[in-house]
């Protein structure tokens, strides 16, 4: 948490002024009982009406000054807290964008989003509250005691006993209830899981007629949650009654000592009233403080979650300038893998000892079962992941020697999951190439078989795409993402199982038009369908992270068992 406070540095002034003005306001508030005491002693005791009115004016004056101070404090607090959160968010966003996929995969997207949104809000709220109140409340509690000392030293010792006692009680109850609140939250998560699960599995549950069973299980969990909630409520509900008793015992003690002191002529009646008032001010502040502590505890928890993201360091090191250190033996190859292995974290190797060379302009098919490492392999070409051993070369240069942007400019990769962003069709296509001309756009659409999609939309290229491309079908999205890659005119085009939603005829037409493109890029096609890759110049068969066979369709049918198995499972009857 503490490391995050750096982001307050641009708001130093605000962060200091806000509590300062709060203290000023509190000081004026602390003067009120003294003024009231003066009204009672001098005004009533001395039957001095002008003095009373004068003091009344002082009270209102104090109120106005307090109001102004408080407004200033609130303003600075809001400015500092929001500014802090804004800078932190921007920095975190930047940091996330710099992390490698190894880290991103491990953390998971949904966590990152919660940390960027709800955690940040809670954190902002926490900073705001701390600036406003964290100094104020203890200041009033201690200040009330100090003021009590100025009124009468001996009576003030009542405060010296009461305040630590109160602190202990508040602290103890918090210590007990905070873990309980956490348990409540966990149980609630359990209910959430159950509800979600029953929605996603509704068909299975109904098919098996398990509705009543599920209801019984839900009720059981719900009862447990309710029991914990009640128990937590019971303990946290003690806070107010106990503090109330302690403060009032303090008041009683003040009355008694006050009585003795007044009897001895040491203090006046008004002073006793003032002392009693200070005691009730403490009670009010304590309630505020308790709420504040809950907010702060939550904010600290969220701050730690945010900080833990900052602590991650990208495992990919980037060079500032591309080192044009071309390996002569490899300069004619678009892509070379040299004994490459890949490991995600501590798990088993996703790829082991992969070696192959691809000439410029070749078409490479990659096939294999799920989890055989197909996507991992192509993800290493634009260096989404670094090899744990071995080397990957693009145009004869080790990918680690490329400046990231230089490398990625050469590559157009279409991922398995077709992703489009909010905006027009045009703005999405321009992601591939900001400077694309009208003709280039049309050409890319033609190659990717996406012309008819654009033609049939209102506004054509200006048609608005919803978030996640929700207003397009799977096949439409896939074709547009392919167009986005083609528009780049990349040296290397990678299609990672990105035609799965296309029917076979469209898929075939797409492959044909890519082959006929005017500049002959090196193309990688990853697929589960033998039909999609069987015409490639080179087919790589992956099995369990290893190359099981490599060659043309005919060669593999003869030599590679796994390829034959896949092919036969899809074409068996026809061939037989």
């Amino acid at each position: 948490m503490s490391k995050l406070l750096v982001y307050l540095k641009n708001y130093k002034l605000e962060s200091i002024l806000s509590p300062l003005f709060k203290l000023l306001e509190a000081t004026f508030e602390l003067l009120v009982p003294l003024v009231m005491a003066s009204i009672i002693d001098k005004g009533i005791g001395g039957e001095n009406s002008p003095h009373i009115i004068k003091m009344g004016a002082v009270l209102i004056g104090l109120g106005i000054v307090g109001l102004v101070c408080s407004l200033v404090a609130q303003y600075y607090a809001a400015k500092a807290a929001v500014g802090f959160a804004t800078e932190l968010k921007s920095a975190l966003f930047k940091h996330i964008q710099s992390l490698s996929f190894l880290e991103l995969d491990k953390i998971g997207t949904s966590t990152l989003i919660t940390r960027m949104t709800s955690d940040m809000n809670i954190l902002q709220n926490g900073v705001n509250m701390v600036l406003r109140l964290f100094l104020r409340s203890p200041f009033i509690v201690v200040g009330a005691m100090v003021m009590a000392f100025t009124v009468d030293v001996k009576s003030a010792f009542v405060f010296v006993v009461i305040i630590p006692l109160l602190s202990i009680v508040v602290f103890l109850i918090m210590c007990i209830t905070i873990p309980m609140y956490r348990r409540v939250q966990n149980k609630l998560d359990g209910l959430l899981l159950k509800t979600r699960e029953n929605l996603t599995g509704v068909r299975v549950i109904r098919a098996f007629g398990k509705e009543d069973n599920e209801i019984a299980e839900y009720r059981e969990r719900n009862d447990i949650l309710t029991a914990i909630q009640k128990k937590t409520g019971k303990i946290s509900g003690l806070m107010n009654p106990i503090t109330y008793v302690i403060v009032n015992i303090g008041t009683v003690a003040l009355l008694w000592t006050g009585a003795i002191r007044v009897d001895g002529g040491i203090i006046t009646q008004g002073a006793v009233v003032a002392l009693v008032n200070y005691m009730s001010q403490i009670l009010v502040e304590l309630i505020k403080l308790a709420n504040l502590i809950v907010t702060v505890t939550k904010a600290i928890a969220c701050g730690n979650r945010v900080e833990s993201i900052f602590e991650l360091e990208s495992s990919l090191k980037e060079v500032t300038e591309t080192i044009k250190d071309v390996d002569d033996k490899k300069k004619d190859f678009a892509v070379c893998f040299e004994d490459v292995s890949l490991k995600y974290g501590d798990s088993e190797e996703a790829l082991s000892h992969i070696t192959f060379n691809v000439k410029k302009g070749e078409t490479v098919g990659i096939i294999g079962g799920t989890g055989s490492g197909k996507s991992s392999l192509v993800n290493m070409i634009p260096r989404f992941y670094d090899a744990s051993s071995g080397k990957v070369y693009v145009s004869g240069i080790d990918v680690k020697n490329y400046k990231k942007d230089d490398l990625r400019k050469k590559i157009g990769i279409v991922l398995q999951k077709a992703v489009l962003f909010r905006g027009t069709i045009r703005s999405n296509l321009l992601w591939g190439n900001d400077g694309a001309t009208k003709e280039e756009i049309a050409e890319a659409l033609r190659i990717s078989q996406a012309e008819e999609i654009v033609e049939n939309k209102d506004g054509k290229l200006e048609h608005i795409i919803d978030q996640g491309g929700k207003n397009l079908s799977g096949g439409q999205k896939q074709r547009l993402t392919i167009a986005r890659a083609i528009i780049r005119r990349p040296e290397i085009l990678i299609l990672d199982d990105s035609t799965s939603a296309l029917d076979f005829a469209t898929d075939a037409a797409l492959r044909k038009s890519i082959k006929e493109m005017d500049y002959n890029p090196t193309t990688f096609i990853v697929s589960q369908r033998a039909a999609s890759i069987m015409h490639a110049d080179k087919i790589i068969v992956l099995d369990d992270g290893e190359i099981n066979g490599m060659g043309t369709h005919e060669e593999l049918l003869k030599s590679c068992g796994v390829y034959k198995e896949i092919y036969n499972s899809q074409f068996k009857i026809k061939e037989a």
């Binding site: 009120v32 009406s49 009270l59 929605l199 007629g209 509705e211 309710t226 109330y244 009857i573």
Partner: protein, 577 residues
């Protein structure tokens, strides 16, 4: 609308009416006692006049009184807290149970057409928000009102004229709070709009970071984010600051009231209309009287919010449930597996016709392959057979009984379903396998798992059959999950099967295993198969060809090929090279 919702909430509370009455009594007593204490303190102060004029005996008496009252008050306060918690959490539990029960009874059409996230957030987040509001309503609104009334009475008993003064001035804070609230409402609305915008950027860009990187858009995206971030900063600072002025402003008004009471009271005291002790209690009352006014605007927003949340929950609870079984519904027994569809018409939305006048007669043990491109509506058939949806016209019969005359449970029990979107509940493997047959012995389960090729991988799991799997199968692979689903059906041996063949998400070896398991399962059973494999399709007794939700062709492989329609086109593009 709002009144209706409140009425419904009251119905839930009605069950705990005795607790509510107790809570009200406790609140009244606790407020009365709380208010009584300043009087006692004031009395005590009046016994301390000046040196030599201190009445120690009476002070002692007063002190004992104060201590007793304070102790009683605190016990009652605690009791009241417990009672309020009990009411709130019980009501919330009841509502959640009812909402969940409704989910189990909702027609599939509702669940399919709503986002899960939305329904979940109603049952979890909205109910929670409602609970907060309800609790706050109980503790603050009620005690607030009682406090105002109580202090008013006490103040009147001390001095009528000063009381009138307080009553006239106090609503000022309410007005101030209201004005500020109205102004800030728009700012908050703007803030949440911008915040929503920012969340979508985060969601979109972080969620699809790979695409962002692939196109080196990091900088552009960062700029886009920072732009919205800066806008949000402006909105937030404004909204937070303006809303934060409420408290100081109302506090100022209260301070003003306090000063007024002090001055007027003191002048009255000179003329002997009121003692110093009384003035001290009066000041303390003036403070307590104004406090609920400060809180009231907050409580009102909170309550409004709670009612809005409650309305969303009731919307769910009041959704009509699935059609009930007929009173004299038949319990299907010893099903042979004869399925007939007669003149069936169906569509999800009236203006988009899907299936029209469809006829199909399936003899026991026949295999029906459903074929078509992805997204052609194969689930529609499943929806109708299992009666997840009702046909618009015509009828579907099993063994000659119209499915509307059969109990839903016995109808669904006669089907075994394995879908490609596997679903497993969080729990042990054993619990998942015995879903259809809770009284199965472990031996039976293992036998079913062996028959469906699931035993070998289950055995290798850390705790074998007792391994707990998390939501949606957790770390199991797609293929393993599907094998478990097959074993689940294998165990209850239903007379009719609905199977969904694997497409591309499963590797070849597992696929072969699944296919073998399917074959074992299908022996002698009527089976509907959403088919992708040529062998399955060719061996089927009847092929249903679907396109855009319609069943456009029907017949066996040879007949359909001869006809030269969509099927033959599909067949040729897919399998002819």
């Amino acid at each position: 609308m709002q009144r209706k919702t409140i009425g419904k909430v009251l119905k839930y509370i009605d069950k705990y009416i005795d607790l509510v009455i107790l809570s009200l009594i406790l609140a009244a007593v606790s407020v009365a006692l709380t208010l009584y204490i300043p009087i006692l303190v004031g009395k005590g102060i009046d016994f301390i006049i000046s040196a030599g004029h201190v009445d120690f005996i009476d002070i002692k008496k007063t002190i004992i009184q104060i201590v007793i009252v304070v102790l009683i008050t605190s016990v009652i306060q605690w009791w009241m807290n417990i009672v309020n918690n009990k009411i709130t959490y019980n009501v919330v539990r009841d509502i959640r149970n009812e909402a969940f029960e409704k989910i189990e009874r909702l027609p599939l059409s509702f669940i399919d057409s709503h986002q899960y996230g939305d329904i979940v957030s109603r049952v979890i987040a909205d109910v929670d928000q409602f609970a907060d509001g309800l609790l706050m309503g109980f503790t603050q609104a009620f005690t607030g009102v009682v406090t105002i009334l109580g202090t008013l009475i006490f103040m009147l008993s001390i001095n009528v004229r000063i009381t009138v003064l307080v009553v006239c001035v106090t609503p000022m804070s309410l007005i101030v709070a209201n004005v500020i609230a109205k102004k800030t409402y728009l700012m908050f609305k703007k803030q949440s709009e911008v915040r929503g915008e920012q969340t979508s950027i985060i969601d979109e860009m972080i969620g699809n970071q790979k695409v962002v990187r692939a196109y080196s858009r990091e900088k552009a995206v960062q700029e886009q984010f920072d732009k919205v971030n800066d806008e949000l900063k402006k909105c937030s600072t404004k909204a937070i600051f303006y809303s934060a002025t409420t408290n100081p402003a109302t506090r100022f008004v209260n301070g003003f009231v306090y000063a007024l009471v002090g001055v007027v009271g003191a002048i009255f005291a000179i003329s002997g209309n009121i003692t110093v002790g009384q003035l001290s209690s009066f000041l303390s009352y003036a403070n307590q009287y104004t406090k609920p006014f400060n809180e009231i605007s907050g409580v009102i927003t909170e309550l409004q919010n709670a009612i809005a949340c409650a309305a969303r929950i009731f919307e769910l609870i009041e959704e009509p449930a699935e059609v009930e079984d007929l009173v004299d519904a038949i319990e299907l027994k010893d099903v042979e597996g004869r399925v007939t569809l007669e003149n069936v018409s169906f569509s999800y939305v009236p203006d988009r016709k899907l299936i029209e006048n469809f006829n199909l007669a399936v003899k026991p043990g026949q295999k029906i392959a459903i074929v078509g491109p992805t997204g052609c509506g194969k689930t529609t058939v499943i929806n109708l057979l299992m009666r997840f949806y009702d046909v618009n016209s015509g009828r579907i019969c099993v063994d000659g009984h119209c499915i509307k005359d059969i109990t839903k449970k016995s109808l669904r029990d006669s089907y075994g379903m394995v879908l490609q979107e596997t679903w497993l509940k969080s729990g042990t493997i054993l619990e998942n396998l015995t879903m259809g047959k809770p009284d199965a012995t472990r031996e039976e389960v293992i036998a079913a798992a062996k028959a469906s090729h699931a035993h070998s991988f289950i055995r290798r799991l850390e705790n074998g059959y007792d391994t707990v799997i998390s939501e949606d199968g957790g770390s199991l692979s797609q293929g393993q999950k599907q094998l478990l689903c097959i074993a689940r059906v294998m165990l209850c041996k239903p007379p009719i099967l609905i199977l969904d063949e694997a497409t591309s998400s499963i590797d070849t070896r597992t696929e072969i295993k699944i296919q073998e398991a399917f074959n074992v399962l299908m022996e002698g059973r009527t089976s509907f198969i959403v088919a992708h494999r040529l062998s399955t399709i060719r061996e089927a007794d009847i092929i249903l060809v679907m396109k855009d939700g319609n069943i456009i062709e029907q017949g066996n492989h040879e007949k359909l090929l001869e006809e030269g329609g969509f099927y033959s086109k599909l067949y040729n593009s897919q399998f002819a090279v």
